[in-house]
């Protein structure tokens, strides 16, 4: 059952196409990842889906409401975790949740009823009357997530939910998101972290320059675009090694800076060869989503 659909959405800024025709369809209960380098068009896409930016072309249906025309009606059943924390610094944890719930038109009694559950979910019961400045980065992020749940939404937008968090806080955030998926919520997630996308998402879309490059489950994308095993080789003489042995032993290889990335079906022969060359260091691993991402979007820096 479709919960969010977009067809051919486009948006230009001063002649530059930020989003150049993207289709998107989310099914109820899934976690869908929207991936892409900085400036790929992720945030503009999210803003169009929420009805906060008017597309130049295309159609959007958010929970059965046409967007942007009836975006407000659509957003009644949506929660949003923005990229940058925009909690109210003048308010306590409890006040942040209460005030935000009023924007959804919830009556005071209903808000009071929902508050304990939200505080518990965010593990902030003991900090309910703390000011925002007293919270750690992880606590703030959990509060932003709890705030996105005040209206008990069917669909949750998360724009880079774990950027800037330490590993403990990231793992905790993933646990929270899994709990929401178990409750039957639908999630649309953007992220820079491929391990995050691989862990959480049922389906992914990789975009760049406002266009879709690939779409599918993490496993299917890896199988489709990358050999199953990767050996990264670095150290003195890596270039010569690549010409001499690497080219022969790798299905595909690329040199980036001082590191050779070797993609192979079966790494045994390659590893055997490298064991005999103590001046080179290597890392043998399974292919992952980051390999797919870099293959599709290139390795050059985006600023």
């Amino acid at each position: 059952m479709t919960i969010l659909a977009a067809r051919g959405i486009r948006k230009s800024y001063g002649g530059r196409e930020a989003v150049a025709g993207i289709d998107l369809e989310l099914v109820r209960g899934e976690c869908f990842g929207l991936l892409g380098p900085n400036g790929a068009g992720k945030t503009t896409t999210l803003r169009m889906l929420l009805g906060l930016v008017v597309p130049d072309a295309g159609t959007i249906t958010l929970l059965d409401h046409p967007v942007p025309r009836a975006a407000r009606e659509g957003r009644i059943r949506v929660g949003v975790v923005p990229q940058v924390d925009n909690l109210d610094p003048d308010f306590t944890v409890r006040e942040n949740l209460t005030v935000y719930a009023r924007y959804f038109g919830l009556p005071a009694a209903r808000i009071a009823e929902r508050l304990p559950g939200l505080l518990e979910f965010a593990a902030l019961e003991a900090r309910a009357d703390s000011r925002i400045q007293e919270l750690s980065g992880g606590m703030k992020r959990r509060l932003v997530l709890a705030r996105a749940l005040v209206n008990d939404p069917d669909l949750i937008f998360l724009d880079e939910p774990t950027t800037g968090l330490d590993p403990q806080a990231r793992h905790q955030m993933w646990e929270k998101l899994r709990a929401l998926l178990r409750q039957g919520k639908t999630i649309l997630l953007t992220t820079h972290f491929m391990d995050e996308a691989e862990r959480l998402c049922d389906r992914l879309k990789i975009i760049d320059h406002g266009r879709t490059l690939a779409e599918g489950s993490p496993r299917a994308l890896i199988d489709e675009h990358i050999e199953p095993e990767v050996v990264e080789v670095y150290g003195e003489g890596v270039e010569e090694w690549l010409e001499r042995d690497g080219a022969r032993l790798c299905a595909r290889a690329e040199l980036h800076g001082e590191t050779a990335f070797c993609y192979v079906r079966e790494a045994a022969a390659l590893v055997e060869n490298l064991r005999g060359l103590p001046r080179l260091r290597f890392l043998h691993r399974r292919a992952n989503l980051e390999d797919v991402f870099l293959r599709l979007t290139g390795r050059e820096m985006r600023e």
Partner: protein
């Protein structure tokens, strides 16, 4: 316009923040005009026998109510509004809920007017405490102060919609607010100025606020009250409408 009842929730958010700081805020609203009136009114007033048939301090009080309301509305719409829109990203958070930009900007307009209205009322209270108010017409200063607040918060939001940083607001304060303070009859009658300055003053909204507020405080009925109400309302509504267009272009494009 996509205005809904959600604007009330946004107004309440600003009110709740204000209430937390209300003690300091009210103190400032009362103490500053008190010194103003006492210092200027008695110090400068000792040089001036009477203006318009009343003591100078009584003459000054009506102007000060209007001037304080203008200042308060401008500060709220410019600095605090910009902080909520840009620095704290409060609007961004609100707009993710089922609240439209129209709701948010309308709430800001009414809120800045409400807050400045309270400033005006604080000065009125000071004037009453000093025994400067007379008769029942004074009650009508209440709606007049709100109207002045609407006027200057509407105009102020235009500046906020165009601002890249707080520095931009210096233009508004030096080129609009300060000239109005000096030219619109807060301290002295406009009638004493040269003709061309009087014509300029007549085009400025504060003049019309004072033309209503001062006589009402002194127990007189203002001349041409509907004209003054219309000018204040026109500036406020035009300011709000223009600000709305600019915000839409800035935030929704």
């Amino acid at each position: 316009m996509r205005l809904s009842r959600a604007w009330i929730a946004v107004w309440r958010r600003n009110y709740l923040v204000w209430r937390k700081l209300a003690a300091e805020s009210v103190l400032g609203n009362i103490v500053e005009p008190l010194f103003y009136l006492v210092g200027f009114g008695m110090g400068f007033g000792s040089l001036v026998p009477e203006v318009d048939g009343v003591r100078y301090i009584a003459y000054l009080a009506g102007g000060t109510i209007c001037y304080s309301t203008m200042m308060s509305a401008s500060f709220e719409a410019l600095y605090s509004g910009f902080s909520r829109m840009h620095v704290q990203r409060t609007w961004e958070a609100i707009l993710n809920a089922p609240v439209s930009l129209e709701d948010v900007v309308f709430a800001e307009w009414i809120w800045a007017a409400s807050k400045s209205f309270l400033s005006g009322m604080a000065v009125l209270a000071v004037a009453l405490a000093l025994g400067l108010g007379r008769s029942g017409t004074m009650v009508l200063i209440v709606p007049v102060a709100f109207l002045i607040g609407l006027c200057f918060s509407g105009l102020g939001l235009v500046m906020t919609a165009m601002a890249k940083s707080y520095d931009f607001f210096m233009y508004w304060f030096t080129l609009a607010i300060t000239p109005m303070m000096l030219l619109c009859g807060v301290f002295y009658p406009i009638a004493n100025m040269p003709g061309w300055l009087q014509a300029l003053a007549q085009a400025l909204p504060l003049t019309h606020g004072i033309a209503l507020g001062r006589p009402l405080l002194l127990g007189r009925w203002p001349d041409a009250p509907l004209l003054h109400v219309a000018v204040l309302l026109a500036y406020g509504v035009a300011g709000f409408a223009l600000a709305m267009r600019l915000f839409r272009r800035r935030l929704m494009a």
